[in-house]
Every structure is written in structure tokens, then in C-alpha cells.
Symmetry: C2
Subunit: 214 residues, 2 copies
DNA sequence: TTCTAAAAGGGGATATTTCCCCTTTTTATA
DNA sequence: TATAAAAAGGGGAAATATCCCCTTTTAGAA
């Protein structure tokens, strides 16, 4: 019988090796190899012509993460189907992974039988989306209206970062080689754009949006 | 031959089941059961008298985490040795786990053979510390001098949180049912304690120390 | 109850922030 | 090159924040 070839990519060796044993036990599947990160996957295809049907892909990995690796596969080996396998359940990660071309998204706390089912589905139907992922997708459509990511200019960003220090505006002006009055203009412009009423508001915004990291 | 009984506690079912297969393949070990979190472990011992020699314990788990569960084992089943198995490599977590009584601390990106070796060591010697953990321990001794966690009084904390809003001090005084002058005293006291020169400094401190969450 | 320290309140001065309305210089582009 | 928009700079004033030094009230220990 012809087994379905699978490659596992995950930097947690203990997990990937254990998973290897698990999947190999299923009659339908054959684990071709286990790799540690996206980079190793790219390297693998540079010396190996035989292609797996499915790649079980972790996301958070060193050197080349799962999103980049999935994108690479979409661009270079579009026949191979990627099934994402991750701990991150946040909307942003899921969307990035799906946009990169993943055919499914599983969390690591699922039961092994779900994995088996998902693998079969991906092979047979070409995709497998859990309820979780479907909800996330629907959610993202609804929320597309609100976050009109405020665009800040280079100089405004620079000022904003300096505003998140104990410098006075006069000192900020010196650092930026500007007149205090010009700095005052930046301040006022940002108050308007970000809906702040005080400098504290600027600081809170900058930290919330990770413009400054503490 | 008498195998060494092991219990696996981990909320990532896929991982724990895969690990089950892996460890069961080793001749020396026998996985008695696989549980999803600390709570299940406590429940397990309330109906089961047979004790495993080793518990492979995840840390981040719902209901009852690995640290609490390890502490419980130390208090109630001190003969059972806990080998921590986690993704978190930060000093704080490692120390908490060791203080709770763990006999070893492994990261999930180790090679299966290391796990096998660690299990054998824990059974034979009673403990197994990787270089990583040893370094962390040494490090923690060196750094014990600096973080003299600044103690803030209830009312100061309250003020500090309000200072991280766009309220003026006058408004803060109203919220706290205090005179603006008293609020000014709190401000000055915190400037002194936290080494701040401006209100921005207070905000940065509060966020850095997670006194306010954004 | 007396004493003491912490909590609360205050006067008054100076520095900084915030605001509004304006001009000049630079940059991009039609 | 004309022209509009963006960037930079400014005057002046009111509101806040910061600072220093002081008194009164409250709560708890002696």
C-alpha cells in the first residue's frame, strides 16, 4: 500500500521525535524526515527531489520560522500541503499562517486522533479547518473596519519615542535639532492623531502599540 | 524485569500522547497514565494507591499548574520525583520549579536520548540538572543583591495607577477623596522612591513593573 | 492618656505643558 | 517655474506640574 509521505518541522526535538513515533504508527502515513526549522526544510529540498505530500509545520522556530517556511513552500513547492501545528492561538498568527498558504491550523493540545483525521482530510480534500480557525477567520472579517492603523511620519515617531522619556520638550528639541516651537507642533499633531489630551496619553499609546519597548 | 513507573502531566495532549509512545518504547520505563493538568494528578492519587517513581511535569497548565502540582507532591507524596519538562527557560520559572521540589528541569527542545538519560539519572541518583539549570542557579545567587523590590503602600499604589491616566492631579485628588496638596505629597514621595524626575517617569516605572497593565 | 510617626493639608514660587493663532522655509510636483 | 503642501518656527497666555518648606489631623504604640 502507498503511504502518504510527511515531513515534520519543529524545533522542539523531543516533541517532533515523539510526534514522529505517533504518526508513523498510523498505517496511512510515513514520516520521511524530521527537521528542526524552516531553514533545514529549504536546505532539504535543495538536495532531495522526492516530495512529501504534507508538511507538519511548527510556527515559532529559530533561523526561519513556520510562516516564512510556509510562504517559501507556496512559492517553490506549491503541490506540498502545509498543516500548521502550534501553541499560538492568537488571531494574528493564525491569519499570517493561513495567508502564507497553510491548509490547516492545529493546536498542540488536540487529541492525536484529531491530528490523524486532519492529516487524512488535508490529503483527501486539500484542507482542514477546525471550528477554532473558522471562527477566527470570521472574526477577522468583522474587525477589519476598526483598526485603521494610524500612520505616523518618521519625525513624529522619533518625537513620540522621546516623549516617552523624562526629557522636557526643550531637551527633546535639542536632541532632534529643532526649535522648541516645532516640537510643540509635533506634540499638538500627535495629540490630535492619537486622541491624547496629555503627554501621558502619548506615552500610553506608544507603549500599547509597541512603538517603545520597556 | 521491573520497569520504572512514570506519569506524564501535560495539557498538550498531542505532545503528551506522543511522549507516551516515546517513553514507552524505552525498555526501562513504563508510562502508567497520562494526565492533562495538576488537578488531575491530585485527583488521581485520591483514588489510586500505586505510586509512580517519576512524574514528568509540564509547567504552564490550566486549573493547576506544574509549580503548584510539584509543591503538592512534595507535601503529600515526597517519595515521587518530579522532572520538569517545559518551554519556559526564564530564571524565575526555573527557580520556582526547583523550589517547589523538582529534581530536574528539561526544555522541550532536547533530544529524546537526553530525556532517557535524565529519567535514568533521576531514578538512580535522585536528580538531574542540565548545564542550563546549573548556570541559572549560579546566576540567581549573584543577582540576589540588586532587586530590593521597592515596597509601595496601598494609597501610593492607587495614586500611581491614577497617574498613568490622563487625569490631572486635581482630578486624581477628587477620585481619591484627597486634597490636591496631599496628592502632591504622594507624587513627591514616589518621585523619591522610584527615582523619577517627572510624571512620565512614574508611568514608565508602573508599566515596567506591571503595576498597570495596558 | 501621652507620645510619635504617618497621613493629610497648605503657601507660594518656578518650570513645564498645553493651547491658539500666526509666519517663514523647504519640498515636491503639476 | 509656479504653487500648494509639509516642515519648521514664533508670540503670548493659561493650566499643570514640580519643588521646598511648613502645619494640622489621625492612628497606633508606649
Amino acid at each position: 500500500m502507498n503511504k502518504i509521505d510527511i515531513i515534520i518541522v519543529d524545533d522542539h526535538v523531543l516533541f517532533s521525535q515523539a510526534l514522529n513515533g505517533l504518526v508513523s504508527n498510523y498505517d496511512e502515513f510515513n514520516v520521511v524526515t524530521v527537521l528542526n526549522n524552516g531553514k533545514e526544510l529549504v536546505d532539504y529540498f535543495s538536495i532531495e527531489n522526492k516530495q512529501p505530500k504534507i508538511v507538519l509545520m511548527d510556527i515559532q522556530m529559530p533561523l526561519m520560522n513556520g510562516i516564512e517556511a510556509t510562504q517559501w513552500l507556496k512559492d517553490n513547492k506549491p503541490e506540498i500541503k502545509v498543516l500548521a501545528l502550534s501553541m499560538e492561538a492568537d488571531e494574528d498568527t493564525i491569519l499570517k499562517m493561513l495567508r502564507a498558504g497553510a491548509k490547516g491550523y492545529l493546536l498542540k493540545d488536540i487529541h492525536p486522533s484529531v491530528l490523524q483525521h486532519a492529516l487524512k482530510e488535508v490529503y483527501a480534500s486539500g484542507f482542514y479547518y477546525t471550528e477554532n480557525v473558522t471562527n477566527t477567520l470570521l472574526n477577522s472579517i468583522h474587525n477589519k473596519e476598526k483598526p485603521i492603523a494610524i500612520k505616523l511620519k518618521e519625525r513624529e515617531l522619533e518625537f513620540l519615542k522621546l516623549a516617552c522619556t523624562e526629557r522636557t520638550y526643550k531637551e527633546i528639541a535639542e536632541v532632534m535639532f529643532l526649535s522648541p516651537k516645532t516640537v510643540d507642533n509635533y506634540r499638538e499633531a500627535l495629540f490630535e492623531k492619537l486622541g491624547a489630551k496629555t503627554r501621558i496619553g502619548l506615552v500610553l499609546y506608544a507603549i500599547k502599540e509597541k512603538i517603545v519597548i520597556l
